[in-house]
């Protein structure tokens, strides 16, 4: 307390705000949706009132994407986004609807959908289903659901990869997330392919639950906490056994590292540094000369990189882009850093569709003008949004790396 006095700091982070209004320049929502009060008003300004009297809480705060671009912009380290999320948790009386619960339960829905994947995919793609979902539960009819895979990543791993992993001296754990497990096992397979080629075995976590980002966004906090603790325990166990845990989704990684503590109040500080993004892990191994990569001479691709909001917040765009630039056949362009508008489940909601597309409009135009062979980004929901809105395919940097890799040559270099 004496230090606080000397340094004229408050126990309330919002009091670091100088009222410079710079955050308002970078809010993707307030520029297109005037119903949202903007980061300064919703965050530090509003917090002062809410502390006086909760009646000042505004349900419009749910229009915040939790993109954290306000925090990246703030020159005084005000955690604007965290303040807004915490206020929603504390004061909102809005109960999650059936639609919110379905969208938030990426794990449960995924498990069910995998079993009947061809039927589910066909049904979800039908105009009739879309319009029924649009008018009944409020999932926007314009959205394309990511296709469900008929074989889960975990199943593939157990049948096709697990046994081979023990042969490697060095080991990592992998937090695959719902998307890799239920929709796109190839990304996880690509990671295993790369890690094995450079001499690392890949283990699954003892128990993995959905990271909880969609549950936090949809107000299912208790469930998010419960799953969060299971993930923390598993990552801790891997750490104790000497394994770093890698993720291929920037949002899963960000949620576990930062949101568990800042938003959910879970004790995750001791595992924060053993949870990282695969591109960051690989970059350091390469930088320190511990591994080498060989690339196919026939691989050619014009790649434009999109900085996902949570990637930007973690400050790790550098790692993914440097890896892509290392591939001789990649012609690299950096897209302007701006939100694509989907923000996980946000853009799937009927009431948010227009806002979502308006936010992404500038990005879509830049991509269409550039017409690259593919866009690369570390976030799966950005992928859906950009693919739907531009028609340009989107790939995770790990998939590009895996496709460009000369596996046999890489194995030789690292053995």
């Amino acid at each position: 307390m004496a230090d606080l006095q000397i340094n004229s700091e408050s126990v309330f982070n919002f009091e670091q705000c100088l009222k410079c209004s710079v955050c308002t320049v970078y809010c993707p929502v307030s520029a297109v949706n005037p119903a949202y009060p903007g980061p300064k008003q919703a965050g530090p300004d509003g917090e002062r009132y809410r502390l006086k009297n909760p009646v000042f809480f505004d349900e419009n705060l749910k229009k915040c994407l939790n993109c954290k671009r306000c925090e990246v912009a703030c020159p005084q380290n005000v955690k604007v986004g965290d303040i807004i999320q915490a206020a929603r948790m504390k004061y909102s009386t809005h109960k999650p609807s059936l639609r919110d619960r379905i969208l938030a339960s990426t794990d449960f829905v995924g498990t069910m959908a995998n079993r009947f994947a061809p039927i589910v995919n066909m049904t979800l793609a039908m105009g009739l289903t879309k319009s029924v979902m649009h008018s009944t539960i409020g999932v926007d009819k314009h959205r394309q659901f990511p296709a469900y895979s008929s074989k889960r990543f975990e199943t593939w791993y157990k049948r096709n990869a697990k046994a081979q992993q023990a042969q490697y001296d060095k080991q990592v754990s992998y937090f695959h997330g719902c998307y890799v497990n239920y929709n796109f096992p190839k990304l996880g397979q690509d990671l295993v392919k790369i890690m094995n080629a450079v001499g690392y075995g890949v283990q699954l976590l003892e128990k993995e639950k959905c990271c909880g980002v969609a549950k936090i966004a949809n107000g299912l906090y208790d469930q998010a906490k419960k799953h969060g603790n299971i993930n923390i325990d598993s990552i801790r166990k891997a750490k104790e056994e000497g394994r770093v845990t890698l993720a291929t989704s920037s949002t899963c990684c960000f949620t576990i590292r930062d949101e568990y503590e800042h938003i959910l109040g879970l004790e995750a500080g001791d595992v924060r540094e053993s949870m990282t993004l695969a591109t960051r892990f690989l970059y350091h191994l390469l930088d320190e000369g511990k591994i080498k990569l060989a690339f196919r001479s026939d691989y050619k691709k014009r790649v434009a990189y999109h900085s996902a909001c949570h990637m930007e917040r973690m400050g790790w765009v550098f790692y993914s882009t440097e890896l892509l630039k290392m591939i001789p056949g990649v012609e690299f362009t950096m897209l302007d850093s701006q939100c694509c508008g989907i923000s996980g489940t946000y853009g799937f909601k009927r009431e948010n569709y227009e806002t979502s597309q308006a936010i992404g409009a500038g990005l879509f135009k830049q991509i269409k003008d550039l017409a690259p062979d593919c866009v690369s980004t570390d976030c799966e929901t950005c992928k859906w949004q950009i693919e739907m809105s531009t028609g340009v395919p989107v790939e995770n940097p790990i998939c590009i790396l895996a496709d460009a890799l000369d596996v046999e040559e890489t194995i030789k270099l690292n053995s």
């Binding site: 000397i6 410079c20 970078y26 005037p34 949202y36 903007g38 912009a73 400050g315």
Partner: protein
């Protein structure tokens, strides 16, 4: 992950240094915590607006030669050449500016005052002399509901100089929608609303409707167009039937954000590493050399470089901090020039020259920083973090930012 130079700070001075080093073929990283004070830019750049007595300067180069030895310009070798280089760097990056280091012109502030300037973005209203407007009949046209452009003050300022001013306002359906959130009806958000060719076409028609038959010499508009570049303001000018010029608004500043966007984009396109939103937290100094710096986001590593440039800004940007006991340089705890006694930091009259404005990092003649009295031979300070000048009283802030950055680069390349 080794760089030729790591720059701490992504504002005007950091980006200037980054681009100049890149031009010399160097691998550069910028660590940028939060956004910069370019968000408060006036659409102009100043070299030296006022002398020590507070008189407006007409020839900055002449007066710079007479400044105190502790002014940062005294550590810049050839100020005239550096000023030319700075202007060229802006132009190459797509910031079209006009102005001359030997002859200040004047800009119009959002409060209707007239102030000296060195360079001004070409679409913005300027005066060749402080008391002479280039127009007689003026239409001052605002966006309805936009409060950061106080037209009454601006009109009064223009009338004092003899202009005949009509204040007008226009709106468009999109602007009416934006207006539903009065607290977010700011310059940058309006620029996003007015962000495509179709709406600018309709904006031009709305402005024409307001000014039709008025025989105006000029239409003056708030600077709410073109966050990315000047394309939309050019389009508007082409479609309005009368000469159009812009006046800067209260912050956030659209021209300032545009300058930053253009410089940053060029830096990244040139292969520069921009660690957006990351905070330098410390460094390892051995035998008078800064070896590496740590950052908040890249926790696993200490970033190495041959040279470092501290362009972290002043108190508002967090480059300098203060408590009740001392003024401190935030990243490395470098030596600062500051009065010891807290009572000597401020003058009671807010409009007097405030002593704290001149506080900052101490440097030697080559802009090297010091720690515990010892020079760090590969670390340079540039821009607002430097001691020895008062940018409010002397209107030399952007000049110091750009010129010291270019000088530090010369010292590195030497």
């Amino acid at each position: 992950m080794k760089f030729n130079t790591i720059i701490i700070g992504g504002g005007l001075s950091g980006l200037t240094a980054g681009l100049a080093l890149q031009k010399a073929g160097k691998r550069v990283a910028i660590v940028s915590m939060g956004q910069s004070t370019l968000h408060f830019n006036s659409g102009s750049f100043d070299l030296l607006g006022y002398d020590a007595q507070g008189e407006a300067v007409s020839n900055p180069l002449e007066v710079i030669a007479t400044l105190d030895d502790n002014h940062p310009y005294k550590k810049c070798g050839d100020v005239a050449a550096l000023a030319e280089e700075a202007k060229a760097l802006l132009t190459e990056s797509g910031v079209k500016v006009a102005g001359d280091a030997k002859a200040n012109h004047y800009r119009i502030t959002p409060m209707g005052a007239v102030k000296p300037a060195w360079l001004t973005i070409t679409d913005y209203a300027t005066l060749a002399e402080a008391d002479k407007l280039p127009w007689k009949k003026v239409a001052l046209v605002n966006v309805i509901g936009y409060l950061d452009f106080p037209t009454k003050f601006i009109a009064a300022g223009l009338r004092r100089l003899g202009a005949e001013v009509d204040v007008k306002a226009f709106t468009l359906p999109e602007l009416e929608t934006a207006r539903k959130s009065p607290s977010e009806m700011r310059a940058a958000n309006i620029a996003k609303v007015l962000g495509n060719e179709d709406i600018v076409k309709r904006m031009a028609a709305a402005v024409n409707e307001q000014t039709e038959g008025g025989n105006y010499d000029v239409v003056l508009l708030p600077a709410v167009l073109g966050i990315a570049d000047s394309a939309l303001s050019q389009q508007l000018k082409a479609n309005v039937n009368c000469q159009v010029q812009f006046i800067a608004t209260l912050p956030p500043s659209v021209p300032g954000v545009r300058v930053q966007n253009l410089l940053r984009k060029r830096f990244i396109a040139g292969g520069g590493v921009h660690l957006t939103g990351d905070k330098a937290t410390g460094g390892v100094i051995e035998n008078g050399t800064l070896k590496c710096i740590t950052t908040e986001n890249l926790t696993e590593t200490c970033l190495k470089a041959d040279n470092f440039i501290l362009a972290s800004g002043s108190f508002v940007s967090g480059g300098l901090t203060s408590n009740y006991e001392a003024v401190t340089e935030a990243v490395l705890g470098l030596d600062v020039d500051a009065a010891d006694e807290h009572g000597q930091w401020v003058k009671y009259n807010a409009f007097e020259a405030q002593p704290y404005m001149e506080f900052g990092v101490a440097t030697d003649g080559e802009l090297h920083v010091k720690k515990d009295g010892k020079v760090i031979n590969n670390c340079y300070a540039v821009g607002s973090v430097l001691s020895g000048h008062n940018r409010v009283k002397m209107a030399d802030g952007t000049g110091v930012s750009m010129l010291t950055a270019l000088q530090a680069v010369k010292n590195i390349l030497k």
